[in-house]
Amino acid sequence: MAKKKLFDKLPSCYAGKILRIDLTTKTTSIIPTEKYANDYIGGRALANRLYWDEVKDGNVPALSAENTLIYMNGPMSGTGLPYSGRAVMTGVSAKNIPEQYTHSSCGGYFGTVLKWAGYDGFIITGKADELTYVLIDDDKVSFESAEELRGAYVQATQEKLFEKYGRRSSSLVIGPAGENCCRHASIVTHADSAFAKPGFGAVWGYKNLKAVVARGTGTIAPADVDAVMRIHDWEDNPPKGKPETGDYLNTIEFAEFSGPTEPYRQVFNSCNPACNHRCMITRCGLTNPLDPNGDKVSMVGKCLDEQICIMRADNFFAFGAYIDFPRQNKPGNYKWMFPQVADPEDPLLDVYMQQYDGNLLNMWGPDFNFGTMINWCCNEYGLDKWDIGFWLFTWIYQCQEEGLFDDGKVDFGRPIDFEDPQFAKHILDCMTYRQGPMGDLLAEGVGRMIRALGKEKYGDTLRHGIFTRDGEERLTPVSWEASWGEPSHWQGRGFQGCEKNIWASMNLVNMIGARDEAGGGHSHDSYENYLTYKDDPCHSPLLIKATIHNNRRSEMKDSLVLCEYKDPDPGRPNLEVEFIKAAIGVDMTKEEIDHIADRGKLLERAILMRDHGRTRDMEVAEVYPWMTYEDPWGQTVTWDEWNDFVDLYYQAYNWDLETGWPTKEAWEDVGLDDIADFFEKEGKIPVENPNYVRKANPFDR
């Protein structure tokens, strides 16, 4: 399919400029958005192309002046469309093992304000000679000393910048964890919207970049205001649709719930302007865990906080199941992601609710105050809650249960106590400030810490005491690391005990990228299709088709940029078409949109191949071992079964079975002829090998 020219003149939903920032030389330059927007639309797809063009050799350490980070809005940001305020960041991840190119997305208001200042995105290179923040004040960009902000918590940093530049400014900041190059450090904006998973906060810290502040007086205009309004009307009163089978969650049961010890108010809210989804949870009037005698605080979070704080859910995401929410702050129209907000009249609802019958995890006694301490420390230190809550603390707990710390060789500098919130703070202090006997190891991230301690013992030892609901014990490693230095996420073990068709699909997605494709990449398909492959998902072209469909939605979610809590929406298959028409004013077919999505996806593969030597052997070896542990139904994959599935996937993308490299036609089909030429010179255009024989299983567990 030929590239479609979307527009002759850049529409007014774009700001028009991308800012190149060199921290070393303290200089900036401008790239016109127009150069890229036609072919790559925005967000992740555009960032991928920018990265390919700007970075000629991305095989650099994450913590280096040479690591280039790209922040990109999409055309939807700031237009008033619902759930459109997100943005993406790409670059070499500090947390991935091995370090490699990946991406993250973030909500909040910064993206909209940046557009009002005149920029669709920015590129950060180099390293400042002192702790610095970059001030983008309409056309004026300056490099300011941030030494007075050194060590400041995330919110204190933002408040200080508000004082200087007004509350209509917006900032992306790092906390002390980023300053100290902790590989779980996040970049945060507003109240707990964060670029978290790839550890980009550590990269900013290494580069001596404390914050980027934006203040703008410009405007952004959607192509069709009435269409924006109609979309909001629809979202406020969505017609009933049929839920899909999908990523519903395993039920988890914890021990007796403890706390909270004081009354508080809990409300739903949205994380970005004009969003009507209210998927964030704010708890108001809580004691500040880091300053118990100070003012009460309001703590923002979403699904993850629910898990960490409450830890008592018959369903993992049991929003509203046990707490009386105020009258109007209630959850909005989610996609069919959470069974409890699915259409209660749908005749298939019972089926979905019965399918997922997960593990009894037997984790530590759920404690509101313990969870709140984790949340607040992560918010203020600038740490990734997912890895801290789901990986670090579960790892400590599971190692302790298996007696791995009994020999005293691992010394956290304080007795392990899951009843004491101060233990949580102590661990996060050690990680953030690199203090105590384990500080430096913790700051290197859970995956690297476990490798340094000895993965065979501290990572792969099997945890006992996890049972299915029918009482059968399931053994999984004490570390829930699944692939690329990431903890399991929709990969069938750990917290997400989804069915095999889902975790197999999700592992394919993770396999060809470098992280979990949370949100947009959640596995979705029709119930009818599910019935055809549920007993043998790894040989189903239909599941491959669904996986690629979900890949495309994920790409577009991060390119427009929309929110993973809504897109894809099975109840609204024309969502992207309508949003593009309303914001950009262009008629696009779904096929044309998919074409851009595929182009973005292949650009990511091009970067992984060019900079990190990505091959089939590498990525299959990365994801396969985790799937050899039993899921809640006792399911695994065999080596051949998994490789059959990979074959189907590669064939669908027209990639070589032996190397995993796209064919010349695959590049050219999405309009990346120049990249095909590049790889031809590099000798990485695959030639079909008639003697190709699949390698034998190298894993013998």
């Binding site: 007014s12 700031g78 237009t79 008033g80 208001y109 909209t112 304000v113 009002w116 919110q155 933002q158 408040e159 509350r167 209509r168 507003h190 109240a191 703008g216 007086t217 410009g218 405007t219 952004i220 205009a221 959607p222 205001v225 924006v228 309004m229 909001h232 009354p263 508080y264 108010r265 809990q266 409300v267 739903f268 809210n269 949205s270 970005n272 302007p273 004009a274 969003c275 009507n276 989804h277 209210r278 964030m280 704010t282 108001c284 009037g285 500040n288 003012d295 009460k296 605080v297 309001s298 923002v300 707490i323 009386d324 105020p326 009258r327 109007q328 702050n329 909005g332």
Partner: protein, 160 residues
């Protein structure tokens, strides 16, 4: 005595989370664009640690000192048959006298210095669906003073 105007409900009923939808849609329906703050409705963001936010909007006072102060009264600053005080921007010369005459703090009239125009709430008087800020507030924390309250003030509890 005040004419009809936008009010912010008590936080016990609905918590304004500072999403700025009210401001953004005010700009969209009046100007077709989003911008930092058109001025029809003003959101004052509270501290991040508390997230207690306030909305300020014209109360369409019956004595309307802004109208009285306008040198182009009835052409630039006008009052309609419902007592809604509004600005005819084509006639506005951006002198700022109305903003200074507003007796509320902060002034409910915003000066657009770049374009030399004043902006204030006009209750979306020509919009069929009524004020867009009310319609689009995702947490229903805005309403009209004249409408029956959607809650019983007697039954509003404090913290849960």
């Amino acid at each position: 005595m005040k004419n009809d105007h936008i009010i912010q409900y008590p936080e016990e009923y609905s918590h304004c989370i500072g999403c700025s939808s009210c401001e953004l849609f005010c700009s969209l329906v009046h100007d077709g664009v989003t911008g930092p703050c058109r001025g029809g409705i003003k959101l004052e963001l509270g501290k991040l640690s508390t997230l207690m936010n306030k909305v300020y909007v014209c109360e369409h006072c019956e004595d309307h000192p802004c109208y009285e102060a306008c040198p182009k009264k009835d052409r630039a600053m006008c009052v309609d048959e419902n007592g809604t005080v509004y600005i005819n921007e084509e006639e506005c010369i951006g002198c700022g006298l109305c903003a200074r005459a507003c007796k509320l703090t902060p002034s409910r009239i915003t000066m657009d210095k770049k374009n030399r125009k004043a902006h204030k709430c006009d209750l979306c008087r020509t919009r069929e669906d009524g004020p867009v800020c009310i319609k689009r507030c995702p947490v229903v924390c805005l309403g009209l003073a004249s409408d029956p309250l959607p809650y019983d003030p007697e039954k509003l509890g404090g913290a849960k």
